[in-house]
Structure formats: C-alpha cells, structure tokens
Subunit: 519 residues, 2 copies
C-alpha cells in the first residue's frame, strides 16, 4: 500500500521466511485460551490490601465521585446514596453489597462461537491496540493521522494472529471518516474482517446502540437472543480525579440493560490526576471503578463487569505519561490484589512510552505484559501495536508484540514444565552417555518438532547468517511480515445474508445521518 | 576511539541528556544491594521437585559423571564413590550429606569493602557480560575480534554503573593479547579500573593462582588474610553431557583451598547436550552441578559454592542455541526451586539470541532477567552487554541493559508499594477534589523529585519533541552515552603502593613467561 522508504529497501526481500501460501505467512501458534498457572506476585501485605480498601472507601464516603449523568444521579439517590451537585457519596456497606453481585467469571461469545472468551478466573486474553489518533510505519517513517485503510489493515492483523483474542477499540482512529458515521464503517470492517469479540465505544447513545445492533446482526440473532448473554462489551475510562462523564455512564447502562459486558478502567496518572504515591493512585482508581460498578450492579444485579487498571506515573520533568515503568508494574500488581479482594475480573494493558518499535519500546512493553501476567490480569488491552503512550499505532510494533504474546502463551503450556518419566528422561541420558549428543536419539527425534517455541519475527541465526540475509533489524523484519500478511489476508467466512443485512444497516443509518457529533 | 558511522552521525549530538561533569554523565541510581521481595514463581509441584531430584540422583548413581581430573577421581575414590575409567558414580546419601555442608549465604569482599556482596538469601546481584570472543558497536557496524581497549572500555562501564555489582569474566576476549599473559593484563585493567568483586577463569593452575595473588595484592592482604574469607570467585561450566574438564575442577580446588568462592554452571542445551525435555535438561544440569559441589564440600566442608543454571533450548531448525525463550524461563524457574531444595545460592544469566541491540534483543533479555527475578536468582551473570548467544559484547547493549537493571532495582524499593496514610493520601485527594490536579499540591511537591524511576537511555519525550532532537532510536542514544561515559571516566582510587605492587607482579610473571598455553 505504501512506497518503501530507503531504510526498508536496503533490506531486500530476504529478511522474513516467506512461506507465501495465502494466509500462511507465518508458522504461528494455534488459537488457545492461555491459562495463567503462575501464582500472582503480591507486593501488598494483608494490611496493605486493607489500607487501600480503607482509602477507597473513605474516598467514596467522604469525598464522593462526580457523575456527570442525571440518570445515574437519580439512581444513586433512589438507592439511598447522598447526591449533591452531581457529587455522589456512597456508604461502604452498600458499595460492597453491590460489587458482591458481580460475577467472578462470565463468557463473551462473538459471531464465531469458536472464538468465545471466558472472562475471569485464570484465563489471560490479549487484544489489539485501541484508539491511537495516529499511525506510523517504517515505510512512511513519520507519524500521520490514521485512516480507514490503516485501520482495516490493523484489523487484519488482529484477525490473523491467533494470540490476539479480541478486537478492542479502533486500532487506529480513522480520521478520514466523518465522526457521525465512523463507527458504522469501522464496525462493518471489524465485523467482516474479524470474527473475534468486538467492542463499542461509549460515545453517545446512537453509537452504542448501532454497534450492539451490528454485533447482533453479525451473530444472526434476534434482540432477545442477543440480550440473553454477552456477545460484546464496552470499555470506559473515568475522568480522573473522581469523575464519570455522561456518555461513558450512558453507554454502560445501555450495554448492561441489553446483557452486554462493561469494563471500567480509571486512568489515574500518579502525580497528575492522582496522588504521586502509587498506593494513593491505586486507591483512587479503585474508588472510581467501584462507584460505577456498584451503580451497574444496582441497575442490573449480576451484570458482567470488569475492573480495569491504567495507573502509571508521569515523567516529573515533563508531566508526560510514562508506561512500563517499575511504578506501573507495581500498581498493576497491587490492583490485581484488590481485584481478587473484590472478586472482579481484571483488565490491564501492554503499554509503552517509546515512539518507535526499538529496544526501549520492547523493554517497556515487556514490563507491562509481564506485570499483566504477574497481577493475574484477565484481559490485556493494547497488547499489540501501541507506541507513544497510545498516540501511535504501528503494524511493526503489532507483529513484534505478537512474538512476546506467543511466548507468554507458550510459557503457560503445561508440557514445558512436565516432569513425568518421559520428561526426566534418565534412559535417554544413559543412552547418550558421556561422549554423545542428543540430536539424533529417538527421544529427541520424537519430540523436536514441537519441543520448543518457534519464533515468528525473531531471527535466531548467528551473526554471519543474519548478515548474509541483509543484516535486517527486528522492526524491518516485522515490516516485511506485515506486508506479507496483508497481501495474503483472507477474511473469515460470513454468511452472505448476514453481510447484506450489515450493509443495509450501515446504509440506512448513514441515510439517517449517523450519530450526532455535538456531544 | 572510532569513527562514527553515517547512521550515527545523522543523530547529531542532541540525543542524550549531556550533563558532562566528569563521572556524572547520567543521573543513575545509587549503589545498592537489591533485595528480591517477590515470592518466586514455582512451576513445579512438590512431586515435580521430587521427580527432578530423583532423576538427578539416578544419573549420579547409575550413569555417573566423568571427571577428567585424576586428583578429583582419587578424592572421590577416597570418599567411597565408585570410580571406573574416570566415570564417578556416587550414592545419593553421600551427595546430599556433602551438599548439605555448603553455606546458604556468604559474602565476597573486594578491594573496596563498600562493594562487598552478600551471596544468597534474597539479594539479587548483576554482573557484566563475560567471555564473548567478539565485539560490535554502532560506529563499527560490524562484528570484530575483541581487543584490550574494547575490554577496558567495557570494564569502565562495569565500574561506572552502580547497578552492576561485580566484574565477571573478561567482558570481551582481548585476542590481541597473547594467551600466556592475557590474564595478567586484563586482571591489571580490571583491578585498577574497577573496585568491584572480580573473577578468575579456571583455565590452568598458573592463571588461577596469578589472579588470586593479584586480587590479594589489590586488597592489600597477606596470604593468611586473603584466605580467611572470600575476596573473589571462579565460575566453571561442565562439559555436558555429564563431564567436568581438568582445568575447571583444578581451578575450583585451588580456589576453595584458598577460601575463595566457586560457581558451578552446567551448560545444558536441551536437544543438543541434554534431553529435549526441559525437566530432563534441568535434572542433568543438577546432577552435573551437584557432583562437583559434593567434591568441593568433601575437600573443604562449608566452602562457598553457588549452583548455576544455563539451561536453554536450541533452535531445532539450525541446532543453534536460543536464549530468553519460554523454555529458558521455565528452566530457570525450575532450577530456582531445586536450588532452594538443596539450600544453595543460584546463578542465572541475562542472555539473548539477537545479533544487534534491537527489539528482539530487548524482549529476549527482558525474559531472561525477569526469569532471574522470578526464580530467586542471587547472581545474574551476563546482565549487561550480551549479544548473539554470548558471541558478541556490545557497549550499546550494555547501557540498554543497565536501564532494565535499574528498573528492576527500583521495582524492589519498598517505597514503591508503601501503604501508610501518607501514601494512601486521602487528604491530598480531598484537597484536589473533583476538578483540580495533583501537580502543584504540597503532597506532590514534597515527593516528585524521588517519586518515580528516572530513565538513563529511555526517551520519554512525545514524538514531536523526540523528532526535534533528531528522531534517534534507542541503540544510537546508547552509543552516545557510551562515548560520554568513556570520555569522562575516572578510575576508582587505588593506593599507589598497591598499584606498583600489581605492576611489579605483572612484570615478573611476564618475565617468567606467563601461563602455559598448551593445555
């Protein structure tokens, strides 16, 4: 789709391993629901958990949360909370009673039931980067506003990689589409290019309802069937400190009333929108999240809710957000402990601060992803493709991140740590003895094709072989793979009648003017 | 020292943050002994630990270990083990009795007592890359055989960074120095350019004895004082499968007889020198290590020993070793469980497969470093500067790795997860309320300078600011920092008399011909 910049061209076409069968560019890992068998890392003592809980409860009782949503305020008042000028104060007994109604686990079933997602428990699921306004790739070499083609290409990556379990928000904001109809076009692309769990932005009633209808159509369901169980979800952020905006709460209320799932992810940057101390930032985040979840449980007891964490620190020199820092890791782990304390599934992120897919990007993302693992996170947002604190989406970064996600998936496969007699292999060791090697023996031959993780973009050649292939650095290899995947992409099958119904829905809603843009 | 390649020159001099005071190029973290407060990740059940132990014991009892060292064979025979053609079979009761004599914790004290290292317990210590035959940096842009100047520069980085606790083997092999005198020149450089714990290669009696004498001189000690406690260490690898070479065992025996520490690190590549199954590779590694440690404990009960792990997998397509893989991580964690089972301190590594300091290098190294953390590793070899499976040393990689090491150090600082009233900060949250921010309040102002990790090579600018500084990728920023550190390097103080004694020792040993090179 783009010209190749000189840096890329230098690499030649020899970098990747081109099995150019359509749809089989890579020998990737199979679709699987990774089960996190590691005991979570828990930096908080029992007293620490109690202190953060106490802080969150005091925030809810004494300071209150602003709900810029009259319907929500009326519901809180009905439930016996104190509501003054949209500041809602709520007692801890009521909050805990409501939060206690939320399910610990539930399932979201998209149009392809084979891609249904168990949310909660020990499952850990990964989604694409969501919502960057800008796009960067190596052939452009610069940061540009996102467009529909880039968005669609990133959706193709979302579908292509088995290690990506759900299609989150727009992988890049397509600003070439008018905001009134953007959701219609992107959701059409998302629902036809992928068959994975999809998401609606809570940005006004029309958008949320349109997306729910489109997901319903994609699943071939009646309203009643759609509302019987979760087929999609919305994700909202609070407006820290201590506020929930109108469209976010409205969207969640619409989702839960139609049986769909919600994720509440406060964005508490320590030192800016939250205390400079990480435990304080976590306490505030917990208060903001629980206030909304309590509301939703009051409205629809037992509705599927996930608590999100997006607590990190700012760079105190510039005030800019930083991700994948030690403080970010600990905040994620602490929130994991709190989520288990409240019995709620947890969402975290695969975030970084870096501007390009280089070494810094990968150590920051690695820190974020491992802290998601260590915290017992169930849903990892932005797990592939995120740069510049979420302001840039990059296909190279997407593919590089998928290597890390596949390694985490492999890391959790039980066979890696199996200790039966065949794995301890004393007989094989005796057979090889003191002067042989293991390459040729039966024990090795019977297992070598599946014994170890096989990389997709990592180059395990020695320096000389790597140099002979052009000496291509990782981001450039990822660029070539990206092109090959897009070239060979085959959309998942869709019933022609469903496709026509989706098209007709989009046409009708466009004729009606789409969604208002004056919110 | 080198011309700057075009790629580097493009960056201009604006990339790093140049506080060019001598010795203060970076605002780095202070010297500290990081204490690993995380509970280890333990993939093995109790039965799994028992199965690996049983496998290791069967290897020692039924298959035996080859000791290509007549003195060792004689000692084993004296101890009641079965010795046939240098194959030593030893009963588990004897092995466990001997291993039980090893201390769980001990201290190594270098010439600067402020840099003494507690080995074992919850301390986690990092050392420079050791023993690559080749060197690569961005200004060269190619892989070249190492030389003394490169080796010295990497020793300067070893000294400069507070997060590097010890000077391991040669950070690059200086092949311009004749093997007969190489150890004399490099140890002179190491002992004058650093004041941290040093290491001797077990490559022949003369080398080990020379290094022990040089360390003794650097500490200003008599033989008796030197031998009273550990001031240095040696690290040996077994020759897998199931063999210990003559010089390795000889060097360890010399070290323990003079009170110095030893690390025994089998290099068991699953699928090549060990079973293709990770538990089998770990069991073999344990057997190889325990056999040597049992010998040393028989010779000197209570001598300081560390068990090392270097178990990874090969790329089954090429047979080349791979590092930082999921299998590597799990093997490291499993060995951690076994080390605790035997009551021995653990050594692991910060290894990767990548050939250049790019994204792949950093996710692989990050995997290795986090698995060191997760396994409760006490000594992390090759923690900075390693590329190409250990065949290349790179100063850029060294600096990039130090960013990760500093983040791990910060991650373990108790204040990050403190939950006192000042950290929960309900009053600060009340003060800011619903419509303010936290930048200006006293709670933030009193803490912001030390609240968060400050990076050394990461660039946290947004894209536009980063672009205005030249759009420099991480490895290029690291190169500039490397140059600045070398330019401004100030060696640690050394008593002039001690320096002269070291010089005289080197001169005398050179006149005597150095060490034989016919082993």
């Amino acid at each position: 789709m783009d010209d190749i910049a000189p840096k890329r061209r230098r690499a030649g076409g020899r970098a990747a391993n081109p099995r150019r069968n359509r749809g089989e560019v890579l020998d990737q890992m199979p679709w699987r629901i990774p089960i996190n068998t590691d005991r979570p890392i828990e930096p908080l003592t029992e007293e620490g958990v109690a202190a953060i809980h106490e802080g969150a409860m005091r925030i809810l009782e004494e300071i209150g949360i602003v709900f810029l949503n009259e319907e929500a305020c009326a519901i809180f008042a009905e439930a016996g909370c104190t509501v003054e000028d949209q500041v809602v104060r709520m007692g801890r007994d009521w909050v805990m009673e409501m939060v206690g109604k939320a399910p610990r686990e539930f399932t979201i079933t998209p149009r392809n039931p084979a891609k249904a997602l168990p949310i909660g428990g020990r499952a850990i699921l990964f989604g694409n980067v969501s919502s960057p306004p800008n796009y960067w790739d190596l052939s452009l070499g610069s940061k540009v506003p996102g467009n529909r083609e880039q968005c669609a290409n990133l959706l193709k990556l979302t579908q292509y990689f088995n290690c990506i379990h759900f299609a989150g928000g727009y992988p890049v904001e397509p600003v070439d589409l008018h905001p009134s109809v953007r959701h219609l076009d992107v959701l059409f692309d998302k629902l036809t290019l992928t068959d994975k769990v999809a998401h609606a932005y809570s940005l006004g009633p029309e958008r949320v309802e349109d997306v729910m209808d489109m997901v319903r159509i994609s699943c071939g369901l009646t309203d009643e069937e759609f509302e019987a169980k979760p087929h999609m979800y919305t994700n909202i952020n609070s407006t820290s400190p201590l506020k929930h905006d109108w469209p976010m709460i409205d969207g969640c209320l619409r989702c839960i009333r139609r049986g769909q799932a919600v994720i509440v992810s406060p964005f508490t940057l320590a030192g800016a929108m939250a205390p400079v101390t990480m435990a304080g930032a976590v306490a505030q985040s917990i208060a903001e999240a629980l206030s909304a979840i309590a509301l939703f449980q009051y409205v629809r007891p037992g509705c599927p809710c996930v608590i999100g964490t997006f607590t990190s620190n700012v760079d105190m020199k510039s005030g800019a957000p930083a991700f994948g820092t030690p403080e970010y890791m600990r905040a994620t782990q602490m929130t994991g402990q709190m989520a288990r304390y409240y019995g709620l599934p947890l969402r975290a992120s695969g975030a970084c601060t870096a501007n390009v897919p280089d070494g810094q990007a990968m150590w920051e993302t690695s820190n974020s992803l491992w802290s998601a693992v260590q915290s017992g996170t169930n849903i990892v947002y932005h797990a592939a493709g995120w740069l510049e604190g979420g302001l840039i989406a990059s296909p190279e970064k997407f593919i590089m991140d998928c290597e890390m996600l596949q390694m985490i998936q492999r890391y959790f496969e039980p066979e890696v740590v199996a200790t039966g007699p065949d794995e301890i292999a004393v007989e094989a060791i005796a057979e090889v003895g003191h002067y042989g090697h293991f390459f040729g023996i039966d024990h090795t031959q019977a297992r070598y094709e599946t014994a170890f993780y096989q990389p997709i973009v990592s180059d395990w050649s020695n320096f000389e072989a790597w140099q002979a292939k052009g000496g291509v650095w990782t981001a450039e290899r990822a660029h070539l793979i990206y092109k090959q995947i897009i070239d060979g992409f085959v959309p998942p099958p869709m019933d022609e009648g469903i496709r026509e119904e989706l098209e007709a829905f989009v046409d009708r809603r466009k004729r009606e003017g789409g969604a208002p843009t004056d919110f």
